[in-house]
């Protein structure tokens, strides 16, 4: 009996986290008269809110922008980051120690300190309203490099030595020897980087003003600030939000173990 009560309470708790999403989804299909109601099934479902949202602002374009930016950043961090991590872990060259120290030190600097100077840099470079502004400052990621370097340090030297004896260059060693072994940390870094880039909104709000170049969360933000607060506007704004949320929820439903493990592992170290 106590067990049953326990599960009921647990279900209520879970509902607090899940119900708002269901309510949001339902509201997007409601006509203004029904908006605000608690029911999850509209009496007169309508696609008007989605039609309105889609024609008012370039959400399709924003989706493509976000995909392009997030994918480019993630690939860059994985490829160039692992190259740097490999060198820092396994090669000896002048300046290696300083580079390591700076990589660790960078993590202590709060993002707010460098935000404004980086913004002025982008303006001076003439990169306002460009994909370069959205991508280049994130091409390397100190956290990713540290995670990968940590992992690479544990790969036995013997593997490298025998690969070198076979005449392999360093890049070939990295991609044919290290990468297959590093599937877990690479996936972790990949998910963290992609989610971070996908959800980033303050930086695009600073460096992009052209609607055609805005990322999805950015366009959503700008869109949500306009218009009024009536029921139709509410439903339309929620419809726009669904465009941003659905892909993530879909990915999460199938991959939630990977999401949770990668995002929480950065905090679960002891």
């Amino acid at each position: 009996m106590r067990r049953a009560a326990f599960y009921v309470v647990l279900a209520l708790a879970a509902a607090t986290f899940l119900y708002p999403f269901l309510w949001m989804a339902a509201t997007t299909f409601k006509s203004p008269a029904e908006v605000g109601g608690l029911s999850l099934l509209p009496d007169q479902p309508t696609l008007d809110n989605y039609r309105l949202m889609w024609t008012r602002a370039p959400f399709g374009r924003a989706l493509v922008n976000s995909l392009f930016v997030a994918t480019t950043i993630t690939l860059s961090v994985l490829v160039f980051g692992s190259a740097a991590a490999y060198a820092l872990a396994r090669l000896s060259f002048p300046g290696r120690r300083i580079l390591n120290a700076i990589t660790v030190g960078i993590l202590l600097v709060p993002a707010q300190l460098t935000l404004i100077p980086m913004y002025t840099l982008i303006v001076q470079l003439g990169w306002v309203d460009s994909y370069a502004a959205l991508i280049v400052p994130f091409v390397f990621n100190a956290t990713a490099i540290l995670i990968l370097r940590q992992f690479f340090l544990q790969v036995p030297r013997s593997l490298i030595d025998s690969a070198r004896l076979d005449g392999m260059g360093e890049l070939r060693i990295l991609f044919t020897v290290f990468w297959p072994l590093a599937k877990a940390p690479l996936a972790l870094v990949g998910i963290l980087t992609f989610m971070g880039a996908w959800n980033e909104v303050l930086w695009p709000l600073l460096v992009v003003r052209d609607e055609q170049l805005m990322t999805l969360p950015q366009l959503l933000t700008v869109f949500s600030l306009g218009g009024g607060a009536g029921p139709r506007q509410l439903a339309t704004k929620l419809a726009a939000t669904m465009v941003l949320v659905l892909p993530v929820v879909a990915a999460y439903t199938f991959l939630q173990r990977y999401f949770i493990e990668s995002m929480a592992s950065t905090g679960v170290k002891g």
Binding site: A84, P94, I116, P137, F140, G169, L202, M263
Partner: protein, 287 residues
């Protein structure tokens, strides 16, 4: 030069260049900016400590600090209590355990902008879900986002909803590391579940608690998209956050020097608060 050294330099040169341009230069330049008055269009003027003086006398800045502490005063206890409770609930053999965990964690992966818009709808005075539920119970509508005294607490509750799942996972990992021998020893002495929790489990969770407090504090000081979308910093500037104020100075008022000053002040404040928290909660080894 040896081949290995050549390869090493080749593989890290792009990274080094990146660090100089996007990490080292910005840090150094932020200090320079504090001494300048610059709108990004005309040439900058050197103004010395004028920005800092203005900051000290800026009522909006201090209001933003107060707002952040109001936020933290509600968010931190809520976060700790709820995360710990849910983690404790999950720390046992359960049906569908990964489902419960996934449910709590879902808001963590959703974009802050999306969560904020969702909660703007929940908090809407006339058509919002929460007032709708209250109406069912014959309770009057609450002006969640337009009442100056309630707006920031409302944001604090939303932030807890969004992030608590992350800390549930952290606490859960900590709970699972508590050795069974500790539980068994206290059981023998006939202590209640609460006593066992308070005197054995809780102290052992100090590292996790410290992490929850510090990360949530940093998050609180970095509030931007929530007030930006929900309230624009109002009502009566009671939800103005430092980052929001910094953004306005850079983007709207074109005051780069002052914005950089705000950024520097924020970095210093965060560092100070974290140091104090570490002292108060104690380091992990004292458990």
């Amino acid at each position: 030069m040896r081949a290995e050294a050549r390869s090493g330099l080749f593989l890290t040169a792009p990274y080094a260049a990146f660090l100089v341009l996007f990490s080292l230069f910005p840090v150094g330049f932020s200090i320079v900016l504090v001494l300048l008055k610059w709108d990004l269009v005309t040439t900058p003027t050197f103004v010395g400590i004028e920005n800092v003086q203005h900051l000290i006398g800026d009522a909006r800045f201090w209001q933003a600090i107060v707002n952040t502490f109001v936020f933290l005063a509600i968010h931190l206890p809520l976060q700790m209590i709820i995360a710990l409770t849910l983690a404790w609930a999950l720390n046992r053999p359960l049906f569908f355990r990964s489902f419960w965990r996934a449910a709590f964690f879902l808001p963590v992966v959703i974009s802050g902008a999306a969560v904020t818009i969702l909660w703007s709808a929940l908090y809407a005075t006339d058509v919002g879900l929460i007032n709708g539920l209250l109406a069912r119970l014959d309770l009057g509508p609450v002006a969640w986002l337009t009442d100056p005294a309630i707006a920031m607490p409302a944001i604090a509750v939303m932030a807890t909803w969004k992030n608590v799942g992350f800390y549930v996972v952290i606490y859960l990992a900590g709970l699972q590391n508590v050795p069974r021998s500790c539980h068994e020893a206290i059981d023998l002495e006939g202590a209640t579940v609460w006593q066992r929790f308070r005197h054995v489990t809780l102290p052992l969770l100090k590292p996790q608690t410290l992490l929850v407090v510090m990360l949530s504090t940093i998050g609180g000081f970095q509030l931007f998209i929530e007030p930006y979308i929900m309230t624009g910093g109002g009502p009566l500037r009671r939800t103005l956050s430092i980052v929001l104020y910094m953004y306005k100075n850079a983007f709207s008022y074109q005051k780069m020097g002052y914005a950089a000053t705000l950024g520097l002040a924020l970095a210093v404040i965060i560092a100070a608060v974290l140091v104090v928290q570490r002292r108060v909660i104690g380091s992990a080894e004292e458990a």
